[in-house]
Amino acid sequence: MNEILTKAPQGHIEVRNFSLSYDSIEGPVQAVTDTQIHVKPGEFVSIVGPSGCGKSTLLNAVAGFLKPTTGVVTVDGEPVNGPSAERGMVFQQYSLFPWKTVRENVEFGLKMRGMPRSQRERAARTLLGLAGLEAFEKHYPDKLSGGMKQRVGIVRALATGPKVLLLDEPFGALDAQTRVIMQQILTNMWQRLKISVLFVTHDIDEAIFLSDRVYCMTARPGSIKAEIPIPLERPRQQAMMMSSEFLALRRGLMSLIREESLKAMGGEISDMGLQGLNIELHGHSLADVI
């Protein structure tokens, strides 16, 4: 645990001239194009954007699951090729190993590293304690609530002391109350660990509440439409969501996203042949109504 807490700040993510297209039967599908982003060591950065704009694609490339078609992804100057324990990941679908108990799940990364059993048991217990889960170490994941599962997922990803933490809509499947609690837990943990975080979400409040900076992506093919610094003070508390500062940021981001979502939807609508509606969309009259 101390090892994680006292680690020198590192985990500088850089994505340059990035584009990625998938092969499909109708030819290549350009998912992300001409994208530059970076995360400074210890920074919390979110990516928001309309559905299908390529957020997961970008994150999966940083994780090493996808190769960029053009451009490079580096962490601390080293090009990413393939997944590694240096980049911890938390998935929306929980992705805990159902055949392992909560503690065995958390131990998994340490086991892969060859840490002896007694040592990794102790480390896992400490981490589970931090997340308020020590009472559940012997439970199997299917007995846990969604919020607990995702806490285990985060703890598991942090157990190996990764340089960066990648999260792909980790709270998307949770109910609103649990989500708020999870956001608070995550920001508290981050405050302590000072790890670089790249966080994908479509929840604007969540992005503002958690982040130092927010990237807003355009509709597909996705690229960075805007980069918004979040100067809210730290440590963050849920009450800040009522502050005028927060609301101003929210309004700004909201209008950016709405524009892109309408574009994304407009494309689909015109595909369906509803031309009249499409024209109105471009005329912004409907945008104000929505």
Binding site: A135, V180, I185
Partner: protein, 300 residues
């Protein structure tokens, strides 16, 4: 909207969540519950199971009764019960048989053949299925051959098996092996194709390499299907064994049953059949037990 209250709420609810576990903390009563309350509670929790057992016993007894009536009155109604032994006759032959070392040897030999044929099938089928599921080339090479051989019933292999193997014993074990091999292989392979790719990714992000992913993700994820394959395979192993014993055996419970027919020992026919049923049931229960032992996360 009082903000500090909101803040405190969100922080307080963390331990609250942690405590509201899946095992809902029943507030411990001041005095330990009396035996009566305990028994009542146990009864209420297990009512469905008890009901199933009770009805099961009644239905078995009814079956015996119908059998008894059909045979004592020698009913002829499309099927003829004239020569069918009564349950009491079968019981008499059973009490005689359990003191007969020859009968026990028949049973032991059949069990040994099952054990050998089935174990071989599992030892070959499970790893082969796992490897075929993981490595495309192996799949592409082996799958077509397996698909051609799979529809051939094990019984159809009897003449070929007799030609292939020097002894009768070996050919019977081979038939048993073949019967259970394909269900095991196919189910293992199926389990491999259903492994959640997100779990594989999660393991990769935690530093797992090919070998560990195989051992820690693919294998346990396929276990439920492997056990389905073992259960089905065990059933087919008995089918194949009995058929092989009836055709080419000199010993074994299948041979015993067939021999009883040749020797006009009608009660022994039914005894042999019941023995086969009980052995088949027992072996599938064994597999189910092993499955629960190996997959504790599946028992609830």
């Amino acid at each position: 909207m009082s903000s500090p209250a909101l803040v405190r709420h969100s922080e307080d609810s963390m331990p609250a969540i942690a405590e509201a576990g899946p095992a809902p903390a029943v507030t411990p009563p001041a005095t330990p519950p009396s035996f009566g309350t305990f028994a009542l509670r146990w009864y209420r929790l297990n009512r469905a199971g008890l009901r199933a057992i009770a009805i099961g016993i009644i239905s078995l007894l009814a079956f015996l009764l119908v059998w008894h009536l059909l045979t004592t009155y020698r009913v002829v109604f499309f099927v003829r019960f004239t020569n069918v032994p009564s349950p009491l006759a079968v019981y008499a032959s059973f009490t005689k048989a359990i003191h007969d070392p020859k009968f026990l040897m028949h049973i032991l030999l059949s069990c040994r053949r099952i054990l050998m044929g089935f174990s071989l099938a599992a030892i070959v089928g499970v790893p082969l299925g796992l490897i075929m599921g993981r490595f495309k080339l192996v799949h592409e090479i082996i799958f077509p051959v397996a698909e051609v051989l799979r529809p051939i019933p094990a019984i159809a292999w009897v003449p070929m098996a007799i030609m292939l193997w020097p002894t009768n014993e070996q050919s019977i074990v081979f038939i048993t092996f073949l019967g259970s091999f394909f269900p095991i292989l196919v189910n293992t392979l199926h389990g491999m194709t259903l492994v959640d790719p997100v779990l594989v990714r999660a393991a990769q992000c935690l530093g797992a390499r090919e070998r560990s992913i195989f051992r820690e993700v693919y294998f346990p994820a396929s276990l439920p299907h492997i056990f389905t394959g073992l259960t089905v395979g065990m059933g087919v192993a008995w089918v194949s064994l009995i058929a092989a014993e009836m055709i080419s055996g000199q010993y074994g419970i299948g041979y015993f049953t067939w021999e009883a027919y040749s020797l006009v020992q009608y009660a022994d026919i039914a005894l042999g059949m019941i023995a086969i049923g009980v052995l088949g049931l027992g072996s599938s229960l064994l597999i189910r037990g092993a499955g629960q032992l190996v997959m504790p996360w599946r028992s609830r």
